[in-house]
Every structure is written in C-alpha cells, then in structure tokens.
Assembly symmetry: C2
Homo-oligomer: 398 residues x 2
C-alpha cells in the first residue's frame, strides 16, 4: 500500500464495516487536513487552505503563471472505500518525491490540491470545493446548505475554525493554472477488460438526479381491499424496474438507491414515497431520452394505481469532454494506454470548463467503488504514480 494511504487508513474508518465516513469539516476531515499539511511540510513544500477550504501545496512559486496542478479529494461517501479521492492526493505527493529523485527541476510551479466536499455526502451537493473555486456554485447558496442534523456549511466551517466570509471564486488562481491532472481509482471494470493498470479519461457522461414523489393514500394493510387501494409502493416498484430496463435499452445506467416511505409502518399502506433516480448515459440525447422514458412509465403506472407522480430535478450535469490536445499529449507520453469515459462526476469535470484538464484512472479489479470493498492492487497504484510522474515531468519541462 502507498505509504500515504497507510498513514490515513484509520481516519474516519467505521470499524463495523471497514468503510470510511469522511465528511467535509468533520473531525475525520480535520485529521485528513492535518495529514495533508504534514505531507507537504515533510517535503519542505509550503501549503495553505484557501478561503473555500481547498488545500494547496506548492512546489515552486504559487504565484507563478502556467502552473501544473494535480490532486483529488480526501472526503468519502458514507461507508466509502479507501481509494476514491485519497489515491489521487497521495499519488500527487509520491510523484513529487519521484520527480525529485529523478532530478527534475520544474520549469513551472507544481501544485498539489485536495478539494473540499467532493462527494456531497454531508451537504448534498457534489464538488462544492471546485465549484466554488470556479464560480459555478453561488457562495451564499453553498453556505446555506445543511447536513442531516440541520448544521449549515457556514456553521460547520466556523466550528472547524474556517471563516465562511472568505468563501468566494478565485478567477486569478484559475488563470495561473495551465493544466489540471486528476488521478483517480477507476469505478468500473474498463481497465480490467483492457488488461491495463492505467488509463486516460476521455470525458464524463452527462448525468442527473431526479426526485420522484409518489403520493397515494394511507390505509390499513389488513382490511383495505386491493381494488380500493392507492398504494404508491406499487408505482415506485414498477418505476424501479422500468428504469433498469430503459437504461439497458439506452446503453446508460439508472438507479434508485435512496427511498423514503411515509408512514413506513409494516401494517400500513404507504401514503407517500420519495425515490431518487440517478441516471447517466454516454451523451445528452441518450440521457434525455432515457429520463423521458422512465418518466412516461412512472406516469402511466401512476394512473393505473391512482397514485400521483411528481418529479423534480435535483441536479443535472452536462457531458464533459476532456481537452483533446492535452489528451493527445498525455497519450503519447504514456505510450498508448487505454482511453475511457466515466459515469462519475469529479472535480476534474468542474475544472475542465475553465482549465485544460485530464484524468488518469488506476485499475479496479472488481470495479466496486463507494463501498468498503473498493480495492486497487499495490502494483497498479505504483503504476499510477509512475504514469503521473511521466505526465508531470513532461508538463513541467516546458
């Protein structure tokens, strides 16, 4: 295991599942931030947190233009794995060591970054750190987001000693970044099928999240005849199965993974059910068609069940194409590694709208992610670091 991953392996770990609960501005997050500072200091590199809470360590003059930045995030989903996020930050510090060991003298500043609240596990919005930096998320809206306990982001920052008044976009910093490269564990089995430890990202599928509300009528589960029922569980169940079928036909993915049932009693027909649809597809027209088909199936079944169906968009993220010139350059440095898209959102997807951006993926033998079972072989992690080193050496040389 890379030393950095070992150093943080106990932070925010749930001993009952082995998974991680590393939520932004939590005690676990503060411990990870301290680790980041230590990793930079130990390498004699200046570091600081920006006003948003993103962590930056600069090898070279951070104010210099044409910077190359690499990194990822340290927070996790509930019960997440050890690699999603930290692998990119740890690999960035390893790359600094290896570049020095190779005697590379960078012609440009190299920044190592850890973006805050990438998963959105605590405040419900993903990529908060990169979106605030780039100005694609309004600071007031972000600071007003609340966690499950009703604590706002502003309050959470204050409790952690950060000043919410400092949260604002930083176009000047963005303008000094010439390239952003994010290394990330793959979250599928594309590289397994290619038989390669490392791959290059082509882009991110467009994706979105929709809340379906199915409203029926609470009633007694024992005495209400089937024909008299308005049972939203039936409409929900039918929609779940339709979503799967439609996703298969569209070549995309569609998932209901979160459900809230009222009153959620074992002898009561539900009065209302909220189900969240996560849908993604290779391109925008396919996604639009997929989502429309799932909606149509839900409305049709709702009429049959006498259940009202309401749908609201919670988030929509357009497709991201990573910079074609940069991809070509990295591809030739790495000597023809596989190129593959991903269905997952990343800070790299946010940065890509502002800065030439690339992603490196490290093989995931099972494809499992967002789970304690997420895994990458040590040899593949090392291959990832070496690929990152080659890429950075090239980018820093000119």
């Amino acid at each position: 295991m890379l030393a950095g991953l070992r150093e943080i392996s106990a932070i925010g770990r749930d001993p009952s599942t082995g998974g991680y609960r590393r939520y932004a501005w939590s005690a676990a997050d503060l411990a990870l931030r301290e680790w980041f500072g230590g990793a930079a200091t130990q390498r004699g590199i200046a570091w600081h947190a920006d006003g948003i809470g993103n962590l930056w360590a600069w090898w070279g003059d951070e104010l210099g233009p044409g910077a190359v930045v690499t990194g990822s995030h340290l927070d996790s989903v509930p019960d997440g794995g050890a690699f999603d996020g930290p692998l990119g930050v740890v690999s960035a510090f390893c790359a600094v060591d290896e570049l020095r060991a190779r005697g590379v003298t960078p012609a440009r500043p190299l920044g190592v970054v850890a973006f805050v609240e990438e998963e959105g596990a605590r405040f419900g919005v993903a990529c908060v750190g990169s979106r605030l930096l780039t100005g694609s998320l309004d600071p007031d809206r972000a600071l007003g987001l609340t966690d499950a306990d009703g604590v706002s982001l502003a309050e959470a920052m204050r409790s952690a000693g950060a000043d919410p008044a400092e949260v604002r976009p930083d176009p000047a910093l963005l303008a000094r970044i010439a390239t952003y490269v994010e290394l990330h564990i793959e979250q599928g089995r594309g590289l397994v099928e290619h038989g390669a430890p490392v791959g290059l990202g082509t882009g991110i599928w467009p994706h979105g999240r929709w809340r379906y509300r199915f409203t029926g009528e609470a009633n007694h589960a024992g005495t209400t005849r089937l024909g008299d029922r308005c049972d939203p569980m039936l409409t929900y169940a039918h929609t779940v199965l339709s979503a799967r079928k439609r996703a298969r036909l569209a070549g995309g993915v569609a998932t209901f993974g979160r459900v809230l049932v009222r009153p959620n009693g074992s002898n009561a027909i539900a009065s209302a059910i909220d189900g969240w649809l996560d849908a993604r597809a290779p391109d925008q027209p396919s996604l639009g068609h997929l989502v429309a088909e799932i909606e149509r199936a839900a409305f049709e079944r709702g009429r049959r069940d006498r259940v009202e169906v309401g749908i609201s968009v919670e988030s929509q993220t357009p497709a991201v194409e990573f910079d074609a010139g940069l991809r070509q350059r990295l591809g030739s440095v790495l000597g023809g590694v596989p190129a593959l898209p991903t269905g997952a959102g990343h800070d790299a997807g946010v940065l890509a709208g502002h800065v030439p951006t690339a992603m490196l993926f490290v093989r995931n033998p099972t494809g499992i992610s967002h789970s304690p079972a997420e895994h990458a072989e040590d040899a593949d992690c090392v291959a990832g670091v070496l690929a990152l080193v080659d890429v950075l050496a090239d980018l820093l040389a000119r």
Copy 2:
C-alpha cells in the same frame, strides 16, 4: 360526534396531519387513561388499571361471575384516525348511560375495558394488553420489548408509575367473563356495500408479518455497468409487484409498507434492503399458498439479480372464528344485520380463544383506516351505540 370522542379529540393529535400518535404509556396515553377514569367516575362506576395496564370500569360487582365485558383500546398507529379503538370505549360508556336511561337492571356485572397497546405502534407487538391477560404473551418477553428509542416496556411502565412486577396473566378474571363484545369502526367498505350502518363480525382472517432481507452489493450508481450490479432494489421491487399479483389470485391481501435501505444514498446502489410483508387471506391454506408463492417469486428474482434473499417470520396469527352461538344470538337481537369477516387483528381475536366473543362493526364510508382520513358518520356511531345497547341488554338480562 359522540361526546366522548370530542372530549379526547385533542389528545395526541399531530396538528400538521390531523392524525393521532397515541402510543402506549406516552404522555398522550396517560391523558387518555385519565379521561377513562373520569368517564367512569362521572357515571359513579368504580375503575382501576390491572397490573398489565388494561383499564376496567365495573357496573356491578367485578368479582361476580358471568360478567359481560365490552370495550376496545385507546392507543393508535402513527398518524392514525380518531375512531380505531376509541369508538369502542366511548360507545361502551354511552351504552351504560342508555341502559340506565332504559331502566335496565343488569343481572350480571358489566365491565368496560380499554386494553393497553393494541396497535403495537410503540413496542412492535400488537394486542399486548389482551395477550398478557390471556397468557398468550410471556411477561418477560413483553417487558423486554423496546421502542424506537430503545426504551423497554418495563421502563416505560415505570416512568408512568406502573409496576412491571405486576404484569402477569389473570385466568381468574378471564373465568369470570361470560362474554366479550368489541365494537369497532369497520376498516373496509363491506358495510357500505351492504348499505347498513352496523354489522356483526364472523371472524378474523389469518395473517402474518414476514421480514424480507435482500442483500446485494454496494456500488457506485454512475460507474457500475448494469451487468456488473447486484442491486437488491430490483429484487425488492419485483417482490412488491409479485406480492400484489399473488394476493389478487389468492383472494387475499399482501402489502409492503415498510422499507429500510442501506446505505440509502442517491448515488449508491443499495447494499441491503429490508422490506416487511403483511399478508392475510380468508383461510389458512390460502394464506400459506399466498406466502409460499411470494417467497418463490422473491427467490427466483434474487437468483437473477445475484441478490441473496432471507425471510424471517415476525408474527403469525391463526384464523379466528367468533363464537357461533353468540353470533346467532346477537344476530337475532339485531334483526339480521350483515355478517362480515375482517382482515384486521383485534383484542377480540385474542379473547376469542378464551371467552365467547363477538364484534360489532360501524360503517366506514370510505373504508380508510390507519389514516387521519378515517371517518364514521355521527348517525352511524349512534346506530352502533344503540346496537351495542340492544346486545348488552339481552346479555345482561339472563
């Protein structure tokens, strides 16, 4: 509205829904118990709580043999209606008034009872008061039941000033009861179709509750290809729809109204889902067949989804036939009111194994129950009281 229902109409009412949250030994329950005592005292009738917490008011000598008892319960399901339970207790007190107004002098003692924790809404087991009284629920098991906050029944009793050491069966009391009659709002639309305000119960369908656990594999909702998933939401959804279809074919009912999803994140394929099946049918063979068919469908689909299905019985209640002789006697007193079974459990179903027992149902215009929308017309409630008076006058005369 019957005066008694009006007197308690604000107790335990959730102002946001208009539904009731009257859980055993809660503040709302204690207020209802105080009301019961007041209703008895106001009528010059001695009352007391037994060691279990059931409330008894006796017109005549409670130690006399051949007693006639009538009543129901005062607790509610979460967000329940105003009639399920209280209508039977309020009607019992009204019947005492009317019997006195008619100058009836009972030849036997008349007891008015309110059984504690009938719904099982707080401690998860239904008919706790009547089952402890009859010895069909072990006192130690009952006292160890815990509510959602981890408070045991024993602790809840102590907090309310009751002594858990006094919880035990009372065969001597049971032996003194010659007849139990429970009046209850109908929880379906049988009487609407018969065009009658009052009906006579024939029995209670056999019913049970099963916990289905669907275990799959947590994974990323955006990056895990459909073919690589073990998504328990699919198996759950298929089982919900199968249960409905099988119930229709069996002439019974089957409901999934309670679901717990882990980790319940909108961008995570669920790792495990618990769903509770409530199933009921006109007779035991039909119920057994129905439950077996739902199981079979769940296992089959689980194999297809690579999801493990585990099923455990949470409760099973055999069919109840109310005493045939008593039914005939009440039928002739009431002059041929409709006779109908019910799918709902009642304290009367528990008592029926020990004491000749009957039920009177009062028309429910929508059939809705276990919901704030539960309703009975005033005229029908009065018709229910008058039917109960006729029945009691007959039973008390000999």
